[in-house]
Symmetry: C2
Subunit: 300 residues, 2 copies
């Protein structure tokens, strides 16, 4: 199957990622089924999708008519029967992912390509469970899918190279810049670099070298970006950054990672979870780093 | 002495950094003496300074008249006699820096503040040699000084807090965003983060996860920056990046740093030192990453 032959996409999991992937596919002319296990989760997910569509329509980048091409459903068998490609975005649990993909294998035609959007697991951890390992690889998106339009393609050792090629071309077809990862490893290309940057920023603040605002000021003033590492962490959510940092601190036994996790913990303990909570390293909706005085320009 | 009382600056060392610092001070209304030990080095340095001034004049950001406020000199005694602040940018050798600053101590009036622009050494390594440790700290710039207008202020334990305050205000006066580093440590705020980012990018390429262009594509596509980590390394010079990586690989015995150094070495061995050599990870003057096709935009 070539990428052009893909007409119907089944997105499994209607969370933030699943909803954005569904919308992105619909915008690029595909028919999409958006599945979730509960009607409530599905309704919430479609609410978010409509919000994204309105936002992009206001920017003149699409029209809300694309929503007609997204079919929300809790009937997995019906949606699976006609799917050319599956994009799986269920919670990050290899056993759960394996169960869901095994069920899909029984319901989908043999031609269907399976992709996982996992951001922390390896495709090989549940390749066998899919029942069709040769037609399975990771296709990993970034948020927001339409602006951070880079998608990692990560095969496991058993993926058919022709499938990797089709998935790569499919990514291009839906407006993504595909990055084909050369070997299976924990962490994708962008995330590996972002984690290194955020870890270094946390070390500077946790170690008392400079407070978060000064760290961001240094990065923004030299890189000329609209946000620095601590502003990015506020957007990701400090609970999520803490979870990842705490996990790796445990695995590696690195005292610097432990200090970073403890530093984040101090914010969580007082309810400062980031942008979504109205406050993290900065106060929202008007964080200091968006104010012109934060970064005096050089007026020569 | 307050920052407003600083009228005359002595820049010691007419390399790239010294020349840019001299010009930046002149643009902001200071009288500058630019010293180098040899007439040849001084002439080359002044040639670069005139080039920068023409470039900034073409951008409407200054006029070449500011060059009248930069006095190139090989007469250290005369320049030192009237200096209110010294900015030292001689090669990164603590013994050499100590010798130069000791000589300056004998030549400068007691009021003169000494600053070092060292990027890899600690001020305490040569504070005693200055003869005036309480009036000495690091004031560390980034290239190009007028656009990357962030300057780290790093005191050693013996620096008078009033001097830190004056140097910080002086940085602001010459159009820099000062970042006062909370404690003396190897590495400044921005450089610590940049090194982490570049190291992660090198690991991805050296480990065969993705080639340099794909690594840059992922960073640029999501961060929306005009250049990625490998483009930045080309601008720094791969010989410089190699030197730093090789040094830390030796100190830390980390096999990943060694692999990164060896990966860089492969480019050096075939003369690909970066932008200055016409080629590094990319070919110059038209590197692929500046071409629109490098990063297809998402056209919704």
């Amino acid at each position: 199957m070539t990428a052009e032959e893909i007409k119907r996409v089944l997105v499994v999991g209607a969370g933030t990622m699943g909803g954005q992937i569904a919308l992105q596919c619909a915008i690029h002319g595909l028919d999409v089924a958006l599945y979730d296990v509960s009607a409530g989760a599905l309704a919430a997910g479609m609410g978010r999708v409509r919000g994204y569509a309105s936002h992009l329509t206001a920017q003149g980048r699409t029209t809300t008519a694309v929503l007609d091409h997204i079919q929300p459903t809790t009937d997995l068998a019906a949606a699976a029967a006609t799917a050319d490609l599956v994009s799986e975005s269920v919670p990050e649990d290899p056993a759960l992912k394996g169960r869901v993909l095994a069920e899909l294998h029984a319901l989908c035609p043999p031609r269907t390509i399976f992709t996982t959007n996992t951001s922390t697991l390896l495709p090989s951890m549940f390749a066998a469970a899919t029942g069709r390992p040769e037609r399975f690889c990771a296709l990993h998106f970034h948020l927001p899918v339409w602006d951070a339009n880079v998608a990692d393609v990560m095969a496991h050792p058993g993926t058919d190279p022709a499938v990797v090629e089709t998935v790569t071309a499919f990514a291009r077809r839906i407006g993504q810049i595909p990055i084909v990862v050369g070997r299976e490893q924990s962490g994708y290309v962008f995330n590996t670099m972002l984690n290194a940057l955020l870890g270094a920023a946390l070390e500077l603040a946790a170690g008392g070298v400079a407070p978060p605002a000064d760290v961001d000021r240094a990065w923004m003033g030299i890189m000329h970006t609209p946000v620095g590492p601590f502003g990015i962490m506020d957007a990701i959510g400090l609970d999520t950054v803490w979870k990842i940092t705490d996990y790796w601190a445990g695995v590696s036994d690195d005292p610097r990672l432990r200090a970073n996790a403890d530093f984040l913990r101090g914010y969580l303990d007082v309810g400062r979870l980031g942008q979504k909570a109205g406050g993290g390293f900065y106060d929202y909706p008007e964080p200091a780093y968006r104010h012109p005085a934060f970064l005096p320009g050089e007026e020569l």
